[in-house]
């Protein structure tokens, strides 16, 4: 198919291959392997966030909480109850799905900022439960010696490389699922909701139901990421479920690019790397990192992938649009080609964002009397 020639897909595949090969370079470097593997666990949760935020446009601030539920599920079941990792993993993910679904039932009655803060409250309640429910979660003492996945005598997951590839494989599934969703009618459904719920409603989209599913799916990814995280790091404390985790995820997705296939992965890796890089500054690192975060958001608002993809898309669209209009429609094609040719050059200089304070047209579609 022609989509195979799409530079975005090529780029995504390149990133994945590169990542897949890192153990070759770093197999002996426990630290590097650890940072990358933990980063990939986060990336999985970020793919969840991508579904609800990137596709559906709902800012879910409970993702850290779901990550924590996954992590504690695996952590507690493999230690206090001595389950096998795999059983614990499956049960925790199902548990996260159920909790996510239930939270979604209420959460999705709210909209926009209310939804964001509502989910933030849910996330915080999850955190409080984990950090206060001593008898079950051991509160601040955390969960020690989380089991490694059982390799059934074939693979020894205690080896950093083996566990790397386990997480990597699951991450691949997430990336592919995201890709598949994006180009299917399911993805289109979610995207219509992001743009306008009213209009989506009008063309027969089951808005509530779809949002509900997206929310649950996002929670599931969070749980998967958390479950893997627990086994990778071996010890988990309440910080695994904290609101800081959520903001970390958000940072990853924003830097990478919301609603894109490769964005969450790239963002997770780059920001993780950036954070480690600045560790040498200790307490002062945020004097530098803070402004960097702000600058990234301002100057690359669509994230790295969005930024690169934007060029590709624009070019493709223009080419296709001109092709489509074709030569049979003389009047139109002349008009289009003049504006396409000269306008482009013009725009570069002017698109510096200093448009008049009022913003653009598309900003505030005057909402009609429709509900």
């Amino acid at each position: 198919m022609s989509s195979m020639k799409n530079p975005r897909i090529i780029g995504t595949i390149a990133v994945i291959i590169l990542l897949g090969l890192t153990p070759l370079a770093f197999a002996q470097e426990n630290y590097a392997m650890r940072v990358i593997t933990v980063g990939m666990c986060a990336a999985i949760a970020v793919y969840g966030l991508n579904i609800i935020l990137g596709f559906t446009g709902q800012l879910n601030l409970a993702q850290g909480g779901f990550f924590g539920i996954g992590a504690y599920g695996v952590g507690l079941l493999t230690t206090d109850y001595d389950w096998s990792f795999w059983a614990a993993f499956v049960v925790s993910v199902i548990g996260t799905a159920v909790i996510g679904y239930l939270c979604g039932l209420i959460a999705l009655r709210t909209k926009d900022e209310y939804f964001a803060i509502f989910t933030m409250a849910i996330g915080f309640i999850i955190f409080l439960v984990i950090s206060r429910w001593e008898p079950v979660t051991h509160a601040h003492s955390g969960v020690n010696n989380v089991k490694f996945p059982e390799g059934g005598g074939l693979i020894d997951f205690e080896s950093p490389v083996a566990i790397f590839y386990l997480v990597f494989a699951i991450l691949l599934i997430c990336v592919y699922t995201t890709y598949a969703i994006r180009r299917s009618s399911v993805g289109r459904t979610l995207l219509t909701i992001r743009t306008s719920e009213d209009l989506a409603d009008a063309i027969g989209v089951r808005v509530g139901f779809s949002k509900q599913l997206a929310f649950a799916a996002s929670a599931v990814f969070g749980g998967v990421g958390g479950g893997l995280y627990a086994t990778v790091v071996g010890f988990i404390g309440p910080d695994a479920a904290s609101i800081d985790k959520t903001f970390e995820f958000l940072m990853f997705i924003l830097v990478g690019g919301m609603g894109t296939v490769a964005g969450p992965l790239l963002g997770s890796m780059i920001v993780t790397f950036l954070f480690e890089l600045f560790q040498d500054f200790q307490a002062y690192r945020f004097i530098v990192l803070g402004p960097i975060i702000v600058a990234l958001v301002i100057f690359a608002p669509r994230g790295i992938v969005g930024y690169l993809g934007g060029f590709v898309d624009k070019r493709n669209r223009r080419r296709r649009a001109e092709e489509a209009r074709g030569p049979d429609d003389d009047l139109d094609s002349t008009g289009a080609s003049t504006s396409g040719g000269t306008g482009d050059h013009h725009a570069r200089n002017i698109a510096d964002g200093t448009e008049s304070g009022a913003g653009r047209t598309g900003d505030t579609p005057s909402s009609e009397e429709t509900k």
Partner: protein, 234 residues
């Protein structure tokens, strides 16, 4: 007098207006005709500062306006009733209208114009306390026109004011526009009904693909065979 000299502008990568020059004399009613997408709205948005001028200049009564922000343009006396209305949906109709007088904030003048607006659109009296967003499409259009009037402008820009209005109200609105103009307020108008608008206008411009292709007195445009063919359905 409003003068646009060689104004070019556009959205993102594409230019929409290509060196447009027009003049609107004080107190006159100037109409801009043009097919869909010819750039009328863009032209108006440029005048009121909602869009940046990429080349050329705009002056009004001797003042440079091409770098002015919308709020400064209103203060200079140009009110714009935009396509898409841009009302404050959750505020009452009355508040919407009264906010229109923000540039001058002259109490007695506010009351005067407010009464005039309610006279022009009696239905708004009934709806005064209702959120503007809950009004019907046409009623909202009335609020938008009224709000523009409230700033007590010397030049009023109306972008398809009759959009979505019932035929009987369209007549009435055009009549009101003529009346407003007779009271000495300049009007810059784009209107679907070319014939009716030319009938009340002093001067007219024809815009095609972002360029002025015809500029003449309104009466002469009415007789112009090209215009008749393209816009008057004759």
């Amino acid at each position: 007098m409003l003068t646009l000299d060689n104004v070019s502008t556009g959205y993102d990568a594409t230019n929409v207006l290509h060196g447009v020059s027009i003049k609107a004399n004080p107190g006159e009613l100037t109409v801009v005709l043009g097919a869909n997408g010819s750039g009328k709205t863009t032209l108006f948005r440029t005048v009121s500062g909602l869009m940046r001028v990429r080349a050329g200049s705009i002056t009004y009564e001797g003042r440079q306006l091409h770098r002015a922000r919308p709020n400064a343009v209103v203060k200079a006396g140009i009110a714009h009733c935009p396509e898409g209305r841009h009302l404050f949906g959750k505020m009452s109709v009355e508040k919407n209208l009264r906010l229109g007088s923000y540039p001058h904030r002259n109490r007695s003048r506010t009351e005067e114009v407010y009464a005039e607006v309610l006279d022009m659109f009696p239905i708004l009296k009934e709806k005064a306390k209702q959120p503007a967003g809950s009004l019907s499409g046409g009623q909202q259009q009335m609020v938008a026109i009224g709000r523009a009037l409230m700033s007590d402008p010397s030049l009023l820009i109306l972008d398809e004011p009759s959009m979505g209005l019932a035929p009987i109200v369209v007549e009435q609105v055009l009549e009101s526009v003529a009346q407003i103009n007779r009271n000495g307020i300049g009007v810059l108008l784009s209107e679907q009904n070319a014939k009716a608008s030319l009938a009340i206008a002093h001067r007219g411009y024809v815009l095609a693909e972002g360029r002025i292709v015809l500029a003449d007195d309104a009466s002469r445009l009415l007789d112009n065979p090209e215009v008749q063919a393209a816009y008057l359905g004759l």
